[in-house]
Amino acid sequence: MTVYETDVPGVGKKFEVEIGGDERLVILLHHDGKREIFHKADSDADAERLFTLQGRLAREVGAILQGAYFQPVETDEVEVPLGEAIIEWIDVDETAELVDQTLGDANLRQRTGASIVAIQRGSDTVPNPGPDETIAAGDILVTLGTREELTKLEGLVEADDS
């Protein structure tokens, strides 16, 4: 596959791509961000303008073609379904009763039924925390359990109003 690149003075750049057989695709990049796509049945044929894309749309289509199209997801709740159980990220408020307790002392598995799979602390992650791991204010607990179990756990790490 050869790509021929030429400057078009006053306009931008032109790329001619052989796409198999004798067919060619001609892509014209304008300085102002406009992109025009032409198709040539063979190298001798007249180019036929397929479509024109303006700036932002051109970039998005380009991202799709690249397989890198990214649509932002709502990050308030990130749920990973595992049968009845789900994984949830739960914030530990600084006034929660669990702050400064070790996991062993907190005994969360027995009390709520949910398990702590990992703890995210700032930019670090503690995977599979042991019973000696102390829960700090501002930690994000990565938890696994059913909705009821996680609701119970959330009650323990919420702000303590009592």
Binding site: T6, D7, V8, P9, G10, V11, K14, E16, V26, L28, H31, D32, E36, F38, K40, S43, D44, D46, A47, E48, R49
Partner: protein, 395 residues
Amino acid sequence: MAELLLEVGIALTAVALAGALANRVGLSVIPAYIVVGILVGPNPPSSVLGISLNLVSDSEFIQVLAELGIVFLLFFLGLEFSVDQLLRDRGRISAAGGVDFAVNFGLGVAIGLLFGWTLLETLFLAGVVYISSSAVITKSLIEEGWIANDESGPILGTLVFEDILIAVYLAVLAAVAGGGDLESAALSVGTAFLFLGGLTAVAWYGSGWLDRFFRTSSDELFILRVVGVTTLVAGAALALGVSEAVAAFFLGTGISQTAHVERIEHIVAPARDIFAAVFFFSIGLTTDVTLIAGVAALLAVAVVATTVGKFLSGTFSGRFYDLDRRRSLRVGLGLVPRGEFSLVIATLAAGIGTGRLASVLPAFTVGYVLVMSVLGSVLIQQADTITDALGASSG
């Protein structure tokens, strides 16, 4: 102040309307700007149905804006001038460009001498009828889709060759025409080459410095710097008797080596568009159409001869690019339009102001450009009909 402001407002609005109309009809905006300048200018036509059309005078303000139009048109030309492409393709470009120059500049000289013009006047005339309009042609190429075909190669290549030739031509002519005898002429040419050589050297070796100078995250500061430096360099050139257009061109080529090209395209191009539009408008403003009647014979001869000339030289150039007959004919038709550069040359001539250069050549050029820009665009649009008629159908 109120009067001047009003006049400028009328000028700009008229230009906007003219451009919109041209777009509607599918023709280039350049002739539209000129015509509207003729209409609202101090020259005839002065009134329509009793309503005065003498709305805008050729104020110094408009003159300066027009000058900036020339400066920035050439600046952007230099900016987009691809030295790499020129070097890569130099064999074919020189061949096509050489044929184009020999035929068409030669024709221009012949016509000038035939009509009894002096040597200097003839050289100006030859320049006016030789150079094709990159603006009109590139726009047509994109509209017709030719830009993606093989015929765009020789067309754009010839235009690039013409750019360099015109830069040299303007530099020499401006210097020569300014001086009186041979000695002062030689001095002027020497100064010109020194100034331009210095500019090129700064651009070439100082591209790192240039790059740093224009580096700022603020768009506002960026455009101020670009516009400021360009205008300053152009003004300095003019003060030294060097063509400000060529100085701007060389500055543009220098900056084309920095990383700022795309940003300049984005941010400074709108300013260029305003100035350029006023330039074309001011051409119409200062043109007395009654003078065109006086050069009708010259105009007719020039239009016919140079259209045929470009057609033949262009078609022949297709050979250097191994094009088939149909595409070669398209090259011939594609190079016919004339426009902005012919007007720049005419403005330079008017500035010198001796003999026919003062008003005859400018009037001729306006008539010539009005005809050739429209004729050229139509020829390109009707190319398939023409090539079929000439027996070169696709296949």
